[in-house]
Structure formats: structure tokens, C-alpha cells
Symmetry: C3
Subunit: 323 residues, 3 copies
């Protein structure tokens, strides 16, 4: 656990000022986000789904990597907080004209940006921005990591924790399995950090050797290569999306072969506890990592994850703007 | 006329809950939309062009097929109703990642979408979404068809009816000609259904044999292959856009050939009634289906159609949200 | 100086109704914009960065040429004035379907547009639109030129004047150098017109012969081909962006060759006055037209330019909407 004083996500008072990664986030900060999300969940159910907490604030969705789904969740969250949202499709813009990342950031700060939601193919890009803001003395501008390379996707990790807490209450007695392409998944990394930080009883990773990172055991998880064995007795199963580009590559024989070994079917699912919940960050590949009967079945909580995701993002944004 | 009880566009009380097609819409529902549009027309003329009817509602423009023009009209209409509008360029998003249409919809519903404005190259896609929403019990979420394949473009049909009613009052004595590529036109289908539903005196279709659907007479229209003859004595002429891809294809010799036979010129127009109005859904191909002298002349009501279109879309959205 | 009565940017009362070019703008109009911008600068520093001046107005960003940076500045400015903003990526829309520019404009006017922010690769396009609006009697609809071909970029010219006035107060005693690719730069043209209109003591252009327009002296500037000589004793240095497409073309040997002759380094900068300010319209090519040490140094006012740019655009929009 990193030193709170040196944590780039926290300000001098130990409050959250950027959300860059779950790695290094103190458990009380995570719990505070989840509790705040709880209060926002109710806002989305209202007739008028808006609160004025970010009125007049300018939130920039700066997506160096295209992701309509994730961008949309942040856009909705910010609009429900009454912020002005500006979407920057940076792939098509000034960076293409040879401008550096930090020059782009400096320009947006000069336009009085209050918050950056950043997606980048390079691990560490949001850190670089946060560090730069600190150096130029702009601790009133906040960064949210919306996915950086293989590194982290902290709001996904937080919404997964919200989902688990919602259905299972306490983490200490839970057995949780994360299944699939751990190697390339920022979701897996964020989930594992969050689960261990919150004191989860047992965390397992399940997947073929070619899709597990070396030394993954050092993250405090046990490793399984057999799906049935890996989810046996589990309370929570987090399925990961298999990226299309892996399916016919060197790492995997084929999508149907993968499904035979690692696709979650009703039959395999029976190895878990009867009240186990099944999660997936979406978009799903039905018939690849998950069978439709499971995806649409009573144990799936995949759509509630999406609903909680909006509340969690509203919580993160309002906490950052308030600190 | 379909049974009101089984009409997927109407709820249990017979009120409009989706706008999918004009086919099957009872005349009183059409009239109610036109009357409501009338009241919104005034809003667009105000100093502050906004009413709070959809404040805090989330309207998603889900365009599986790109159409900046149509998307813009819905975006303006929704913003003038104070809704939060989120544009999804779905062609570039998760469906490209292999997600199914209904998974995309379920996800947006989980984000608390209130309304979907859907454009799709496949006929029936909006029906599929509406049917799915019914099946999952979400009758608080509404679908507006913004054009599906060759099938329907109901808001265009409604704004055309608004335009005709505005200039000609009663439908029962009118002679209306729809001219051009009827075969590939969802606008033509929507207009013909609306005109017959509202009891129009006579509806004609005019075009070359290769651009008329087989058995078009079954829709209650008379068929003409000669333009002058087809518009003779008409009160209303609805010109259709000739898609570029037809112009040099197997169906037509060339654009200039088409213009010679079916382009509306001042000379041909003189066959219609002297006070006939000329309509076009835009964007126009000047010199292909319509001569500039007609397009810019005193009988053209093409720009008023656009103005009425915003009011009609505001009416549809506010009626759906209210039911 | 053109006749005020015939100036297409001014209405019958001599008030600004379009912003098309700084060429022909009376000095009192420029000063009025700068003074108004001054009051908006404070808005961007507030907790709630919004004023209701354009509430319910529809501002259309009509970009026939892609420019995320410029579009963003207008979008932020309009949103801080509480306008509804609709972004039209026209390159991908109806013009591609063969519609004329003026048909597109007529359609948007029929949707009750209040203001067009227009970017176009063709010089004169915003004039054409303004002239068309006058002809159809719509003097309640306003046009802002956001860059047309090589011709003009008036809001950039105005924000540059704001910046100079902010740091140097009076123009009459100033020596100002504009450095780089004058030939292809609309920024240079706008700056030179503004500087001469405001009575700047001396305006110089500096660049290689191949990148200077013929007869540039007629604009009231002196011409220099040597950088050091050109900026000697200057109070203000405006560096221009070197477009990538020039770098390896017939006009220039290479980017590094350009830097050796015209790149602003600390060493060259020492030829200017010690308190000279260095400006750049962005995005910068570090190591091509400007050295990083200068770009990040104490004399650079490049980021304040961006901040002033938002205020200037808010001023222009609010003045137009009020007239």
C-alpha cells in the first residue's frame, strides 16, 4: 500500500483529487465513493434525473481511444450532475497535428476545464496529466481515468465493488473468481486491487496460461486453469470480455475452442454457490465467454452493473469537484 | 387498419407509447400529434425557445445509419423540450464489437434512458426494440422511428401532413401526387399511409416502372408513369429525392434523362392547380428531381416543411413522454 | 477602410451583425468587443461559469473543415452563455449528398437557428452565407467566421489584440512582428488588419520569400527575411504555426532547416525588447517554429491567449445576439 502522503490521487488533506487507479486507494476512500454512489442511485429513478452539483462546471471527455460505451456513461453522469460536457474526439484532432499530450491539456486548462475524463491506449497517460497539473499548480482541475492501456479502469472496478456489496453485503467471507483474459484486461487489474483492498476472503483468477500475466500470484490471488474448479464454491464470478483480436491469434486456437473451455454455461455455473452472481463489464460476446442462458439468467447482474456504473461515476465526479 | 388493442405503438389505454410507423396509427392519434405540434410552433418563435417538458429526461439518438440532417432535427427538438440529449454514433461503437442490437438497448435502458430515437438500415429494427421493451416490462421507455430501411419514416410523414393541413386545411377534397422513386422511399410509404388514413380525396404515385413497387395500387393509390398527367389538377405535389446510387445504375439511364422525364419544372407544374403546393423531404438534388425555379418559387413549401418538422418532433416526444 | 453603410458585417445602425473579417471593422467596434470580453473573463473564473445571455438560443457550429480545437472554443463559449449548441460535422453530411451550401443554410434557418459559427476551406464562404441571409431578410440570424480558407480568422485576430492590449496597454507605440508562413495564414491576415486598424506603431512580417504573399507591403507592413533583424526591438512577437504539409514541399527544404532560420529560440528572442511577449495561435510545433524553452518561458503568453479567446468569443456571440 503506497504512502498516503505521496499518493498522486490524494490531495494534501488525504482527500481524493484524481481517480487514476484503484491500486493505492485507501479502503475508506473506496467505501466513501460507494456510499456516495448509493445516494445518487435514487437520482436516476426520479422524474427529473438531475442535481445541480456540477452546474457551470466544464467536464471534458478526452478520448484518445474511441469508446462510445464508456464515453456515454460519463456523459450521462456529468449531465445528471448539470455539468457542461464537451466531448473531444482527440484521435481526429490536434494531436494528429503533432501537438503533445501536455500541450493539449494545457490548452484545455486555459479554457477553464474543471475535469478531464481521459481514455488512452497508453498505460499511465492519466497519471502523466495529473502529475503535470500538480506541477503547474492546478489542483482545482481533476482527472478521471476512463481506461489506460492494460493498466487500470478504476470506475469499472468501483462499480463492480458496488455491485458485489449490493448483492453480498460483506466482502470478508466471499470467494470471487475473475475469469478469462486476465493478461490484457485493465478491468481485471482494477477488480483484483479493489477486492484485495476491501479484504475479500478469497480471490481467484481463472484462464488459460497464455492469457494470465506472469507472477499474477503476487497480486494476492490463486490461479486456476480449469473453469469448473476455478469457480467452485464461489459467491461471485466476474467474466471478462474476450477481445476479438485474441480469438484467432497465436494465444488462442479459436473462439469456439475458447467457449468449450472457458465459456460460462448453466452446467459449469452449477459448480459455484447456488446464489452466486455472474458479472460482465460488457459488451458481451455471447457464445464466446458466456452462454446466453447464463447472460439472461437469474444469476446474471450484468444490467444492474450498468445502472450502478452511472451512480458510481456521478459519485466520483461530485467527490472530486467537492475536494 | 390494425386492431388498436394489438397495435405495438399504443399502450393499454390506446395512447401512443412508441412512434414506429404511420401504418396502423388511428386518425385521431395523428390529428392529436398535429394539434400538439401547432402549439409548439409558437415556442420556436420565442426569444427563449425552450419549454421544460422533458427536463431531466435522457433522450438517446441511436443512429445505426448516419444521417446528420435527421439527427439534428431530433436533437434540436429534444433540447427545446429541455431534455438531456446523447448522440450515439453506433456504427463506430459496440455493435462493431459484436454486441447484439438488443444488448445495446438493454445497456442504455440500464443507464435510465427515457427515449430512443432510432435510425437503422434494416426495416423493422425499431419494432424489434419496442417489442423487446414490452417483453422486459419497460413501458416507460419510448421508441421513435427516425427511418428504418425502406419501410417507414413516420415523423417525415407527419410533418408532411402538418404542411398539407396548414396550407390546404381539409384532406377530403384534395388530390395529392407523390412523384419519383417510390420503390426505395420510406418517405413515400409513410406519406401514402398518412394520406389514406386522413381520408385524402385522391392519392397518386408517379414514376418510371422500375421505381414503383409491385402491387402499389393495393395501398389505395392510382399509378401514373407520365409526370404531367400524374400531377394534372393536383393540389399537392410531393417530390421525392432521387438517391445518387440509383442515377447511374440499372434502374435509370442517367440523372439528366431522369430530369427530362420526371424533373419538376415550371412548365410541368402548370398542369397542377394554380395554387398547388410543392413539397420535398430534402436534401434536394437541384436539376435532377426538381428545377431550381420550382424549388425557389412561390409554390414551394419546402422550408416551411423543415420548420413544421421541428414542431412535429417536439409534439411526438412530449406526447410519448407524457403517456 | 470600407464604407460603414455598405459593410456586410454591420446592420443599418452600424452595429455588428456578423463577424466575417477584421478587414473593414471600425476601430470602435473592435474596442467594444475587447471591452465586452473583459467583463466575460471574470465569468470563467466563477464557481458557476454561466450567464443566461443566450438561453434558449440555438447556435450551430457548422464545420465544413474539421477543427476540434476551434470548434471546442466556440462550443464552450456558447455553453457558458447558456445557448443550446448543435455541432454539425458537415463534411460527413448532406453536402456530401449533393446539397448546396445555401440549401444547407436555409434548412438550418428553417429550424430556427440563431447563429452560425462557420469554418470552411473556401475563402468567402461565411460572406456568402451572410449575404444570403440579408437577401432573404433574416437579419436576426448571425454568422461568425471561424476560419475561411487563407482569408480570415477574425476571432483569433481579436483574441490576439486582447492579449496585446492586456500586456501592453496602448498600441500606438508598439513594434509588432508576425513571423512565419504569412502566405497561407488567415491568422496573419486577421492580425495585420487588426493591428493597423488599432494604430499600431510598426507592424513587421518576417519569413522566407516563398512564404510571403506578393505585395504584402500594401497591407501597411515592413518585410523582413532575417528573423533576428525582423524582431529586433519588438514589443510583441506573433509566431505562426507551420502547417505540416509545407514542411517537405517545394516551398521549404525541411522542418529542421526552417527551425534553423525561423525557429524562435532564447538566443534569437534576445534581439527583441527584454519585456517582449511571445504569442502563438496553437497548436504549436515545438522544435519547428518555436523552441520549447521559449514556448514554456516567462515571455510566452500562449496559454493566456487561449483563456482570452473564450472571453472574446463569448463577447462576439453576445454582441451579435443583442444587435
Amino acid at each position: 500500500m503506497p504512502d498516503r502522503a505521496r499518493n498522486p490521487q490524494l490531495n494534501a488533506n488525504g482527500e481524493l483529487t484524481h481517480l487514476l487507479s484503484i491500486d493505492g486507494l485507501p479502503p475508506d476512500v473506496i467505501t466513501h465513493i460507494l456510499n456516495t454512489a448509493s445516494s445518487f442511485l435514487e437520482v436516476s429513478d426520479r422524474e427529473v434525473k438531475k442535481v445541480p452539483l456540477l452546474r457551470g462546471k466544464s467536464v471534458f471527455n478526452v478520448f484518445f481511444e474511441n469508446s462510445t460505451r464508456t464515453r456515454t456513461t460519463f456523459e450521462i453522469a456529468a449531465k445528471r450532475l448539470s455539468a457542461d460536457v464537451i466531448n473531444l474526439d482527440v484521435a481526429r484532432s490536434s494531436t494528429a497535428k503533432g501537438e503533445t499530450l501536455l500541450d493539449t491539456v494545457d490548452n484545455l486548462v486555459a479554457m477553464h476545464a474543471d475535469m478531464f475524463v481521459v481514455r488512452h491506449a497508453a498505460s499511465g497517460a492519466p497519471y502523466l496529466i495529473a502529475e503535470h497539473l500538480r506541477r503547474v499548480g492546478r489542483d482545482d482541475v481533476h482527472v478521471v481515468n476512463a481506461g489506460d492501456g492494460r493498466h487500470a479502469h478504476p470506475t469499472q472496478g468501483l462499480l463492480d465493488m458496488y455491485t458485489i456489496r449490493h448483492y453480498k453485503k460483506d466482502f470478508t467471507h466471499l470467494k470471487v473468481a475473475v475469469v478469462g483474459d486476465i493478461l490484457h484486461s485493465r478491468v481485471a487489474r482494477s477488480d483484483i486491487h479493489a477486492l484485495t483492498t476491501l479484504g475479500t476472503g478469497e480471490v481467484r483468477v481463472v484462464g488459460p496460461k497464455t492469457l494470465l500475466p506472469a507472477l499474477v500470484e503476487k497480486m494476492g490471488v490463486s490461479v486456476h486453469h480449469d473453469l469448473r474448479e476455478g469457480i467452485e464454491g464461489c459467491d461471485v464470478i466476474i467474466m471478462l470480455r474476450l477481445q476479438n483480436e485474441r480469438m484467432n491469434g497465436a494465444l488462442l486456437p479459436s473462439a469456439s475452442e475458447y467457449f468449450r473451455s472457458y465459456g460460462l454455461t448453466p452446467e459449469t455455473l452449477s459448480a459455484a454457490k447456488p446464489d452466486a452472481i455472474v458479472m460482465h463489464p460488457g459488451p458481451m460476446n455471447r457464445g464466446v465467454e458466456i452462454d446466453s442462458e447464463v447472460a439472461d439468467g437469474p444469476q446474471a447482474v450484468i444490467l444492474p452493473q450498468v445502472t450502478f456504473g452511472i451512480a458510481v461515476r456521478m459519485a466520483v465526479m461530485s467527490i472530486l469537484a467537492g475536494n
